[in-house]
């Protein structure tokens, strides 16, 4: 981690150096855009850049793709440098930390230029601080239950589960049908997959924390939140998953586990499925998805709304040009293209472009009810530091603590961390 941080810092410095060089040679005519790895497609952005450059003679767009790993450190170093990028993409949960520190340009007055009335509420909320809009919704991606259609058929499951009871039933059927294979897991569910846990807690009517603005207190010890944790435990036990109880969905990458072919269902994002398909192309045909079921039949559980916002650093040199670029991106034309790329667009309520693919369709169906983590600057440090939700899950699943004890401990730790 220390190595990664240092490497990120070095990279940041190097990147600043190059963007500085570019700026000098074009006499301030270069708009530097940083988007994240795996977001909008190369073709879409280059089409957008061409249109932008045609409308702004003399301005060149310098488009750079950044990696998620170590991005917080890189943004910190680049935003404090003399040559920050003009447009950055921020994870929605990171957004409040940057807005609360006045490091971003206030975009409240230009919001209507960015298709404001079509924004996804959960993302717009994350971009807001003290009544001012700093982050503009870019795209959302949320988790769905991905499943193997061939295995469902073989196990005699005719309809996808629409309630928690049916989901557990499907796990039992898959388990029975594949009893001969000791390595088979009906549902792959790693112990510290807290993004999945949030869905279950919200579905039971609980929440991670309550409050607003800068002050939040944990709400993990409520009966509703405890019921969510209980359901997580129930899923793990029903499935008998061999996923590590003391690690998260990225260690090992669950897409790689799925690609090995011994998993019936898993909770993941379309992007992760794409990774698995790269390893085993036959999975594309054999995989479909349904929204995370709810305790109430026919409903779907609220999902953790993952996604990105776009922002202009307060120290950016070309604020007006950056605003024009954002205006173009949030226009219907490019939002539709974003949807075609498999994302739920941040500034477009029309998701018909996603309906063609079963996985994207399942995702878009759940986005509307998506929720986000508490909008507070402290949340980013919880994610980048010690996450009490992860410790809580491990303690419950390994039997080290009872659910009431684990939720109480995690709640105390969360409240303390949120107060910082």
């Amino acid at each position: 981690m220390a190595l990664a941080a240092t490497a990120a810092a070095t990279l940041g410095v190097a990147a600043c150096g190059t963007s500085g060089g570019g700026g000098n040679s074009a006499e301030g005519g270069t708009l530097t855009v940083w988007l994240m790895d795996g977001s909008a497609s190369e073709e879409m952005i280059s089409a957008l850049n061409q249109e932008f450059e045609a409308a702004h003679p003399g301005v060149k767009v310098k488009y750079e793709v950044q990696a998620w790993n170590g991005i917080q450190d890189k943004l910190t170093t680049s935003l404090t440098s003399d040559n920050p990028p003009d447009i950055i993409e921020l994870g929605n949960t990171q957004n409040p930390q940057f807005s609360s520190q006045d490091t971003l340009t206030d975009l409240t007055d230009s919001a209507k230029d960015f298709n404001q009335d079509k924004w996804i509420p959960g993302l717009a909320e994350a971009g807001k601080w003290n009544g001012k809009q700093y982050g503009i919704p870019f795209y959302a991606a949320n988790r769905v239950v991905l499943y193997r259609t061939d295995l469902f058929q073989a196990a005699g499951i005719t309809a996808t589960p629409t309630s928690n009871a049916e989901w557990l039933d499907a796990i039992a059927k898959l388990k029975a049908a594949n009893a001969a294979d000791p390595d088979f897991q009906p549902l792959y569910l790693p112990g510290q997959y807290w993004y999945a846990l949030t869905s279950f807690i919200w579905d039971q009517g609980g929440d991670l924390a309550t409050g607003s603005g800068g002050s939040y207190t944990g709400a993990l010890d409520t009966p509703q939140a405890q019921a969510g944790v209980e359901f997580y435990k129930q899923l793990v036990e029903a499935s008998g998953t061999t996923a590590p109880k003391d690690n998260d969905e990225a260690h090992p990458q669950q897409a790689d586990v799925y690609a090995a072919g011994k998993v019936g269902m898993w909770i993941g994002m379309p992007g992760e499925l794409a990774t698995a398909v790269k390893t085993d192309p036959s999975l594309k045909e054999k995989t479909s998805a349904f929204p995370i079921p709810s305790k109430d039949a026919g409903k779907t559980a609220p999902v953790f709304l993952g996604g990105s916002n776009l922002a202009i650093p307060a120290s950016a040199a070309h604020v007006d040009a950056a605003k024009d670029w954002l205006k173009l991106l949030t226009s219907d034309k490019y939002q539709t293209q974003l949807a075609k790329g498999g994302f739920v667009p941040g500034a477009d309520k029309d998701t018909t472009a996603l309906a063609g693919d079963p996985v994207s369709a399942a995702m878009a169906k759940a986005t509307a009810g998506g929720k986000a983590t508490p909008v507070t600057p402290a949340w980013a440090s919880i994610e980048a530091g010690q996450n009490p939700l992860k410790d809580m899950l491990t303690a419950v699943l390994t039997g080290a603590k009872t659910v009431p004890q684990a939720t109480k401990d995690a709640n105390d730790a969360l409240t303390k961390a949120l107060a910082k």
Binding site: F98, A395, A400
Partner: protein
């Protein structure tokens, strides 16, 4: 270089006194010459001294200054300087968690140092007694363990201690300890830290072992022979011959290990990010959480300064010995 030695000698010893009475004219000539000459060594030393001051002095000063500032992401970006006096220290010290973490760090350091020094001593003694072929093999494996990057070692140990697929649990089950099937080694801070001590010791022992082995080689063989003739058993000859020769080296190794292990970060963070429930959080992890995670750089700097203070108290005895022994040796 010679000029410095001359001045040092003339300053400290009385004999050069006659030189000054050797006649006025030659002295003045020498004096005139030496103004430039006396300056020369200092001029030659200046770049190195300035370099050291810039490389060591400035960061220390910078940490001290940062620790009395409020320096969050916003202040950093605007280049704003906000002095808050000792607020950062008060905030850190008034948190009961800080004292718990400090105590844990001290115990962790003690565990690491004890196992490294003791393990190193035993391996060094072993090296002396095994046949050459075995010794070469032993030394080769020690060097390999030593050369392994910290993160690679930590990852390997994570795999070894993995509850389901780790070789440790599988081996224990094979030997009949069925309770270890799927046993998680990372459910409490104590067992997590114990695993980290094992990783640190595994990588730290080679250095101490080689250092002490070098010390052992310096002990003349006839001393053991003489001890043997006097009827000393192996424990007595260890106490009377080996131990006196090893003691200074052991002190150096202990001192270095304290310095290295007290501020150890990589392995602790990589193993479990200071978890579960903050149970393996040491002072350097606290520093990371305050600085890099939460972006309160002033608070993190205050933790660093407090760490220096604790480290100074820990090693004061050794520093005193160091200063005293130099006086005696010269």
């Amino acid at each position: 270089m010679t000029a410095t030695t001359n001045t040092a000698v003339s300053a400290g010893n009385t004999p050069p006194a006659p030189r000054s009475t050797a006649g006025a004219a030659p002295t003045r000539r020498r004096g005139q010459q030496s103004t430039g000459q006396r300056m020369l060594p200092y001029l030659l030393l200046a770049p190195a001294v300035l370099g050291i001051l810039a490389l060591l002095g400035w960061p220390v000063l910078s940490v001290l200054l940062t620790s009395v500032r409020k320096l969050d992401l916003g202040e950093l970006m605007r280049g704003q300087v906000v002095w808050v006096g000792f607020d950062n220290y008060v905030e850190i010290i008034s948190d009961p968690g800080f004292w718990e973490i400090t105590l844990r760090t001290l115990l962790f350091t003690a565990g690491c140092v004890a196992s490294i020094v003791l393990g190193g001593l035993l391996v060094a003694l072993l090296m002396r007694h095994v046949p050459p072929a075995v010794r070469v093999l032993l030394q080769l494996s020690l060097v390999l363990a030593w050369a392994m990057p910290n993160l690679a070692a930590t990852t390997t140990f994570q795999w070894i201690f993995d509850p389901n697929f780790g070789i440790l649990n599988k081996t224990l089950v094979l030997f009949g300890f069925d309770g270890f099937a799927g046993y998680s080694w990372f459910t409490s801070g104590l067992s997590t830290l114990t695993v980290i001590v094992v990783v640190v010791a595994w990588q730290g022992i080679p250095f101490t072992a080689f250092t002490m082995y070098a010390g052992l080689l310096a002990v003349p063989g006839d001393l053991y022979e003489a001890a043997g003739i006097d009827g000393a058993n192996s424990w007595q000859s260890f106490r009377a011959v080996t131990w006196p020769a090893l003691r200074p080296i052991l002190t150096v190794c202990t001192f270095l290990s304290i310095l290295w292990d007290f501020k150890l970060f990589t392995q602790v963070w990589a193993m479990r990010q200071g978890g579960p429930d903050g149970g393996s959080t040491t002072l350097s992890v606290l520093q990371y959480l305050n600085g890099i995670s939460a972006k309160h750089f002033g608070l993190a700097a205050a933790v660093s300064v407090l760490m220096i203070v604790v480290l100074f108290v820990l090693t004061a005895q050794y520093i005193r010995l160091l200063v005293r022994s130099r006086e005696v040796d010269l």
